[in-house]
Symmetry: C2
DNA sequence: GTCTTGGTTATCATAAATGATAAAATAAGT
DNA sequence: ACTTATTTTATCATTTATGATAACCAAGAC
């Protein structure tokens, strides 16, 4: 597990956590972001290194900031 | 200029600003991040939609957080 | 049991990020 | 003027994020 993989897993977990906090289904958030639900699942699982724009769409549809989403240090 | 382009330009400007604040040359920061200097120039110019990992390497080598780097709202 | 809902996994195609190299432009100094 | 350093731009190859589709899995409801 290299540096990049760890980052991907961390961002995936964070997105999942933020999404579940709002009680929104994965497929629903994916749809709002215009992301395929399968791809969204892969992202949450840490299987991708998302681009800024992808993260931005997720943040926007969660009603949070990019800063909130990449705040990966203090999540346990 | 669509949504995505605006985001790219904004992140590019922000990276450039943060880099210049530290008085470090573009090519030097690029080297530290293991990014080709030409690609780094393109990124600062808003010509790319960087991945999370790319932004992470830049943040690390600037000694700042990802959150700092994507804090795009309050820069004028 | 079946049906739904939410999520996962696999696969392939396409678009785009990045690597890599080279050349040209720009700025600053002497 | 001439360097030198820095940045920009163009181009091509390679890797990978994403789109797109399909099949599958799990948990509840009924």
């Amino acid at each position: 597990m290299d540096d990049k993989d760890q980052l991907q897993v961390a961002i995936g977990k964070r997105v999942k956590m933020l999404r579940e906090e709002q009680g929104i289904a994965q497929q629903d958030l994916a749809a709002k972001c215009n992301i395929e639900k399968s791809n969204f699942s892969r992202l949450e699982a840490g299987g991708t290194n998302p681009t800024l724009y992808t993260l931005k769409r997720i943040a926007d549809n969660l009603g949070i900031t990019l800063c909130d989403i990449v705040n990966l240090e203090d999540e346990k």
